[in-house]
């Protein structure tokens, strides 16, 4: 725990909208004074929400905002699986294939998506629309097959029809 106050003047304001920075401040306020590093996970997630992925520069800027060493922020970005360290398609689809889901079609749903999109896991369609990822248990196994859209929207009971409908909605 350091006693340094956070540093709102750093590079973030050039990179992120005032709304996003306001959300940063709301996160920082959740923690005791001097413990602003606790907001790093939320701030990186918010930066990613705005920019689509986390470049080295973004990670460093967020670290600067929270007055923490860039390496400590980079450790966070690489440890937690939901951060995008490379650009992804407009829609990142993460399909759970862990055992409980697989028993109810999780693997089949992933195969169906691969076929429909013509890509494999960790690939992006040539038009930059979709990135497909394999996920671990998302605590939603009762609704299998499940997939997460852009880390934010959980979709359950993804039958072939439901997947078709989702893809169509994203094409619109």
């Amino acid at each position: 725990m350091t006693a340094t106050a956070h540093n709102p003047s750093a590079g973030c304001s050039a990179m992120l909208t005032p709304e996003t920075l306001q959300k940063f401040d709301r996160e920082i306020a959740k923690y005791p004074a001097g413990c602003q590093q606790s907001a790093i996970m939320a701030c990186l997630a918010l930066a990613q929400e705005e920019l689509g992925w986390l470049s080295m520069e973004t990670i460093e800027a967020v670290a600067g905002y929270l007055a923490m060493p860039p390496i400590a922020a980079y450790e966070i970005a690489t440890f937690y699986a939901m951060y995008n360290l490379k650009p992804v398609g407009r829609y990142k689809l993460t399909v759970c294939t862990n055992l409980p889901c697989a028993l109810s079609g999780g693997v089949h749903a992933a195969e169906y998506l691969k076929e429909k999109l013509g890509i494999g896991f960790n690939e992006t369609t040539p038009d930059g629309k979709f990135t497909l990822q394999e996920g671990e248990c998302m605590g939603t196994c009762g609704d299998a097959p499940v997939m997460l859209v852009n880390n934010r929207r959980m979709c359950g009971r993804m039958t072939p029809d439901a997947i078709d409908a989702l893809l169509k909605e994203c094409q619109a």
Binding site: C35, A45, M82, L103, S104, H108, M138, C141, G142
Partner: protein
């Protein structure tokens, strides 16, 4: 609604539709009365802890540790911040009960945390919610706003002089953060690497302050225990196994979902509530307590009741109450391969036996599944698994070893067949038949 059935429900009683989560609906169900009465009576901390002890509530996060006892470990004389942390990381494959509590009854979690805070003299709290359920993290934040506006959390709650600030913190895709000390590291803005214990969180927790970590379901049970009395809650279940519990049923049943039943309910009854086996196929095996719990073959589980003692006697664990049901179309080698990959990927890498051992386990199971297994592989698996257990900072090592040991033990012949014939015992064309992907069974 994905709470699909209940017997004598407590946590899910009276829940209806998608709006029942709001403060107003919770209050109409008798919500916040327990907190109000405690504050009005200026109840002593000892009395509340005694009530929780009498309920024989055991931690619902997996370890089943008695909650009242855990609370009594908080040191009394320490000045400064003290924390209550709710663990909604829920990453144990098969578990999806805490999600439904946040979704349908978030105020029960908030009230439970406020009462816990009062009892352990905490002034701050966080609910750590895993990042995959973003929409419900937002809902929980809304519920916090409602509670704050109504004066149930914040400074000088209901003019009692008791203050408790509560916030939500989200994860971002790391199973290990469900381990309580990894979770604390994660809230501090670090990698989720578990801490050496002792010191335990009660003496050195979040930011080095006295801290208690409890599971979401554990905390949500508290208001009901205070309202009905510890003994009444205990009597809902059976001795040493107080209360009702949520069971998350996944896999090859007709109606996967959450079910709240008294501890001690026969497994066969739960299976019946789930509409039985999908397609009328035969039950092969069940993992009764989340993917880390040892698997039990059909004949063993069918004789169990759902409580810590019965499942323990059968050689497994009640764990988080995640019941993973597998029918005769399941290739046990393939099933174990997927779990072993998970533990290998999720090992935080701190301890050599876990970091290397989980990789070796996965490599060997994968090799058997690919038809490249050797006869001595099964002994090697047992040797590696045995050498991980007890040699790591946290229990992820055991969580990886238990499935390997139990799958090989109970399905030895199937593993041997796989090695000798270089293919599955379950014919490939019937495998995953139970998945139902191309004609998913609709909610009945």
């Amino acid at each position: 609604m994905s709470i699909l059935g209940a017997i004598n429900p407590v946590l899910t009683a009276g829940l209806s539709g998608d709006d029942g989560w709001h403060l107003q609906a919770y209050v109409a169900r008798g919500g916040y009365e327990a907190l109000k009465s405690i504050l009005a009576k200026k109840e002593s901390s000892e009395k509340i802890i005694a009530e929780v002890k009498a309920s024989v509530l055991r931690g619902r996060g997996g370890a089943g540790f008695p909650t009242g006892l855990k609370w009594s470990f908080m040191p009394h004389a320490v000045q400064g911040d003290r924390y209550i942390i709710c663990n909604t990381d829920e990453g144990e494959p098969g578990t999806f009960k805490d999600r439904d509590l946040i979704r349908y009854n978030p105020h029960a979690v908030i009230e439970g945390m406020a009462i816990a805070a009062y009892a352990i003299e905490a002034n701050r709290g966080y609910n750590y919610i895993h990042g995959e359920i973003w929409e419900l993290y937002q809902r929980f934040e809304e519920a916090l706003e409602e509670a704050r506006a109504a004066g149930f959390i914040g400074q000088n709650i209901l003019k009692s002089g008791f203050s408790f600030e509560l916030f939500a913190h989200h994860g971002y895709g790391a199973y290990i953060c469900g381990e309580e000390t990894a979770l604390l590291e994660s809230i501090e803005g670090k990698k989720g690497q578990p801490r050496f214990k002792p010191p335990f969180p009660a003496s050195f927790g979040l930011y080095g302050k006295p801290t208690t970590v409890n599971n979401t379901e554990t905390l949500a049970s508290i208001p009901f225990i205070i309202k009905m009395g510890g003994e009444a809650f205990m009597n809902l279940g059976k001795p040493n196994n107080g209360g009702t519990k949520l069971f998350s049923v996944s896999g090859h049943v007709n109606r996967p979902g959450n079910y709240e039943v008294p501890l001690g309910t026969p497994f066969a009854k739960l299976l019946e509530m789930c509409g039985g086996m999908r397609g009328g196929r035969k039950l092969k095996a069940v993992i009764p307590g989340g993917s880390s719990a040892p698997v039990l073959p059909a004949d063993l589980i069918m004789d169990c009741t759902l409580d810590y003692d019965s499942i323990g006697k059968a050689g497994s664990m009640l764990g988080s109450g995640a019941v993973i049901v597998m029918d005769e179309t399941t290739c046990m080698v393939k099933a174990l391969e997927r779990l072993s990959r998970f533990y290998h990927e999720e090992s935080c890498g701190q301890c050599t036996p876990c970091r290397e051992g989980t990789g070796w386990l996965y490599d060997i199971v994968r090799r058997i599944e690919a038809g490249e297994g050797r006869v001595d592989d099964l002994d090697t698996l047992e040797y590696i698994a045995g050498n991980i257990c007890g040699r790591t900072i946290c229990a992820l090592g055991e969580a990886a070893a238990f499935p390997v040991q139990s799958f090989v033990k109970h399905f030895w012949d199937e593993f041997i067949y796989h090695i000798q014939h270089k293919t599955c015992l379950v014919p490939k064309d019937v495998q995953w038949a139970g998945s139902g992907f191309h004609r998913l069974v609709e909610e009945a």
